[in-house]
């Protein structure tokens, strides 16, 4: 056997190949469909189930209004987190920043008698400054975002307690401030429109602008991005400032809704916000963090927790179900990565 030149396998080989290729393509399509729409299908299924179990409570306008109102601050935090996660960073200080900023804003009004707009503006500056410090330490000094933001969260907590003495502030909050979250427009809470505004801004930033493209590029390959002339450190810092501002907005909505500032008010939002972002990465653009997916993720989480609450289940069951859903979402987004 000096040599064998494999002639192109004749007709039946070609037939078989065509058959195989069709099967492979079908498989790939099925996987892609599941990855893209799995979470949406799960959302529809849970709405149908809750509606069937509680026909007089769940599928009602007032319930929808409640869900929309409650999930807005969560979604806003999750949008901000999406921006840093796109760039491969973490921010574990969101809960701390929510607490600190709402303490700052509320005490400026209650103790220092500042107008609510000025107080909110200062609150936003606090968020930006905090983000700039985290971002600077992570992007310029090269520290791990995980550790730095964990530490910053502690610092924010401490500062919050410094301001409030760990006491709830009820008094001296202007009516106008409470109206921000409790007011409504066209039957929907103001919070919903504020959330839509943040969504629009971050959608345009991430999905449509050059800056967003750079952010995704540096999340994908930081060195290639740097060598392509992208200002990697500045963008990463900007990401932390964006999540800082989002945390402040959420902090304002939460304290305005409660008409008070209570200690640690951000803590309950921390895990669901991450969950929403990861759930969202299994939607629409599988395997990629994206704000529209995050929106669906946050809505889904709120539907589940509202639905389960209305079934009179205990908090412990709700927590377990939420955990299971998060794990399932991560699995779904892995399928997405393989299919994409």
């Amino acid at each position: 056997m000096a040599e064998t030149v494999t002639a192109h396998e004749q007709t039946d080989g070609a037939d078989q190949a065509a058959h195989e290729s069709a099967r492979a393509a079908r498989n790939a399509r099925r996987q892609e469909f599941l990855a893209k729409y799995g979470v949406l299908i799960a959302l529809v299924v849970s709405i149908v189930v809750f509606s069937a179990l509680k026909p007089h409570v769940f599928p009602t306008v007032s319930n929808l209004q409640a869900i929309v109102e409650q999930f807005s601050p969560l979604a806003i935090i999750a949008f901000g987190l999406t921006v840093v996660l796109v760039m491969g960073d973490f921010d574990l200080s969101v809960a701390g920043m929510i607490g600190l900023s709402s303490a700052v804003v509320v005490s400026l009004m209650s103790v220092n008698h500042l107008g609510f707009l000025l107080a909110i503006l200062i609150g936003i500056l606090v968020g930006m400054a905090g983000g700039a410090v985290s971002g600077g330490l992570v992007a310029f000094a090269g520290a791990s975002s995980f550790i730095i933001t964990l530490a910053m969260g502690q610092v924010y907590n401490g500062l919050e307690y410094q301001i409030t003495n760990q006491e709830t502030i009820f008094s001296g909050i202007p009516k106008a401030y409470a109206n921000i979250a409790t007011g409504s427009f066209l039957g929907l809470s103001n919070q919903f429109f504020i959330m839509l505004f943040v969504l629009l801004v971050l959608y345009l930033l991430l999905e449509q602008s050059t800056i967003g493209r750079y952010m995704y590029a540096l999340g994908g390959n930081q060195e290639a991005a740097r060598l392509s002339g992208i200002r990697v450190r500045e963008l990463r810092t900007a990401g932390f400032m964006i999540i800082g501002v989002c945390s402040v907005i959420a902090g304002v909505l939460i304290s305005s809704q409660n008409d008070s500032q209570s200690p640690n008010s951000g803590a309950p939002f921390f895990l669901p916000a991450f969950a929403a972002v990861f759930l969202g990465s299994a939607v629409l653009r599988p395997g990629k963090f994206n704000v529209l997916g995050t929106l669906v993720g946050a809505f889904f989480l709120e539907v589940i927790s509202t639905g389960l609450t209305e079934l009179s289940l205990s908090t412990s069951v709700i927590l377990i179900v939420q955990g299971v859903i998060l794990a399932g979402a991560v699995l779904l987004s892995r399928i997405g990565r393989k299919a994409a």
Binding site: E3, T6, S21, R213, A217, A224, L227
Partner: protein, 511 residues
């Protein structure tokens, strides 16, 4: 089981979205033979290897080991079957010692049940390395080794794991001739011990001199399997490309009419550049000139160009563009000054793998796709620019929206090139632009480099294949240990002269 090949693959078939990567490939790897696997980028070689490694599941086809049908669902199974792989991208743990990396995958020597017995481990590693490359210290950190030495480590790991088939995917890219010879010696050692080697390379000379058998792939199919003794360079080229060709470097140089330095004005000048790896380097580059930088791996060539591009910190010196001193302390500033760098490692420095072709091509010139005063790039403009680039560089892809992850190595390299062509510059620096790229794509890249030069751009061209530098460059400067040690103008620049300069100085100082 006598007469059965060690490995037989039959009718392998794999489709990626939009690309038919392997289309019914069949070939044998007999025991104790070195089998060469050649073919253009995108011919399906890497996919076949990934299937053997258990990294990719084939859509159809069989793998037999000693005549027994096997499946390789994951890398552990591949290891259990006695397969070991040295992929193009080295998989090592940088902060571990040589010994730890060598022992990865085999049983660590233990002490008191659970603790690692370090001294035994160093001894065992030393034992394996002794035959391969005695200059490697098992206690050294992997980071401190050269690329060639890192590859030796991978082979040592394979030997220690008693691999029966060692797969080497382009082991000789970006290493020097001497190191290549050494590597070939190691392959022959494996063969003598009864092991088989599957050797993937674009360098036909080494395929012809090293292997016992060749398998040529083209467009996902096996085009030719033959005993190496029964074939020759021109037959291989015909099988690889479907056309006949084959000229030596100096013939090519003559055919292209590459002369000495052109008369253009100075476009770039480096003055006394200094960094941690570069010592007092000065040179100039004229418009229309292609300047080669020769040297061994580790001579500071990549470090020099990264320094010029602002990607590495600078200690001293200045860069002039068009006679004016420019700030190139960061990549954005270097770009502003009109300098671009095509980095050596396209996978980790050149591309965003998650991005599609369009997004990669436009990444460095995105603001140019925005309508006036808008921060939003127009996707349709991007798409048409990307389509133009696909045509100009003959990139093989199903569409411009194809993720670059699914493109072959050569096509990925063209995408990175396309990014810089789209951006445009006065000075183009190409660091190993043809590493791991097939014959045809190499020619295309040479043509492109020459086109840029004829448009009056300044070109710096780094390659470890000195023959291609000879074929393409007007002038070659040679570096050694961070310094410039010589300059070869026009026809003085022969492979021999470059090699002599690379080694010459070192012998002088040793004497």
């Amino acid at each position: 089981m006598s007469g059965d090949p060690l490995v037989r693959v039959e009718g392998l078939y794999k489709r990626y979205p939009g690309v038919l990567a392997v289309n019914g490939a069949s070939f044998d790897i007999p025991p104790g033979e070195i089998v060469g696997l050649v073919g253009k980028n995108g011919a399906g070689k890497s996919t076949v290897i990934k299937i053997l490694a258990g990294a990719v599941a084939p859509d159809d086809g069989e793998i037999r080991v000693d005549g027994q049908l096997v499946t390789v669902p994951d890398p552990r199974h591949a290891q259990a079957l006695g397969f070991a792989f040295m992929h193009q991208e080295l998989e090592q743990i940088p902060l571990m010692t040589v010994a730890e990396n060598v022992m990865l995958g085999s049983k660590m020597p233990r002490r008191m049940g659970a603790l690692v017995n370090w001294s035994t481990m160093y001894e065992q590693a030393q034992e394996v390395l002794k035959d391969l490359d005695p200059s490697i210290d098992p206690r050294a950190l992997i980071d401190h080794l050269s690329i060639a030495q890192k590859r030796v480590i991978m082979i040592a790991r394979a030997l220690l794991a008693r691999a029966r088939l060692v797969v080497l995917d382009e082991p000789t890219t970006s290493i020097t001739d001497e190191e290549i010879k050494h590597l070939h010696g190691i392959c022959r050692q494996i063969k003598q011990r009864g092991g088989s080697v599957l050797y993937v390379s674009h360098r036909l000379e080494e395929i012809l001199s090293l292997t016992d058998r060749v398998v040529v792939m083209r467009d996902g199919e096996v085009e030719l399997t033959a005993l190496t003794a029964d074939t020759d360079r021109s037959r291989l080229i015909t099988a690889i490309t479907g056309k006949s060709s084959g000229a030596t470097a100096s013939e090519r140089r003559r055919a292209r009419n590459v002369g000495g330095r052109p008369d253009g004005p100075e476009i770039l000048r480096a003055d006394k550049l200094e960094s941690a790896d570069v010592r007092d380097v000065s040179f100039d580059l004229r418009a229309g000139e292609i300047l080669g930088i020769g040297g061994l791996v580790g001579a500071g060539r990549t470090e020099l160009v990264k320094l010029i591009y602002g990607a590495d910190p600078r200690i001293g010196g200045e860069v002039f563009v068009d006679g004016k001193a420019v700030d190139t302390s960061t990549p954005p500033k270097a770009l502003q000054a009109g300098i671009v760098l095509l980095p050596e490692d396209r996978r980790y420095e050149g591309m965003v793998l998650d991005f599609n072709l369009r997004e990669n091509v436009t990444l460095a010139s995105l603001p140019g796709f925005c309508r006036a005063h808008s921060p939003f790039p127009s996707k349709s403009r991007e798409r048409s620019a990307a389509r133009d680039m696909v045509e100009r560089l003959s990139i093989r892809t199903s569409s411009v929206e194809q993720p670059v992850r699914f493109l072959s190595g050569g096509n990925q390299q063209k995408v990175v090139l396309g990014k810089w062509l789209q951006r445009g510059a006065k000075v183009f620096i190409f660091d190993e632009p043809t590493a791991g790229i097939d014959v045809e794509a190499k020619e295309e890249i040479y043509r492109l480099v020459e086109d840029l030069a004829s448009q009056g751009k300044g070109i710096i061209f780094i390659s470890s294949e000195f023959s291609e530098m000879v074929a393409v460059c007007n002038r070659v400067i040679v570096m050694q240990e961070g310094r410039l040690v010589g300059e070869l103008d026009g026809d003085e620049a022969t492979e021999l002269a470059i090699v002599e300069l690379c080694y010459g100085h070192r012998e002088l100082t040793a004497a």
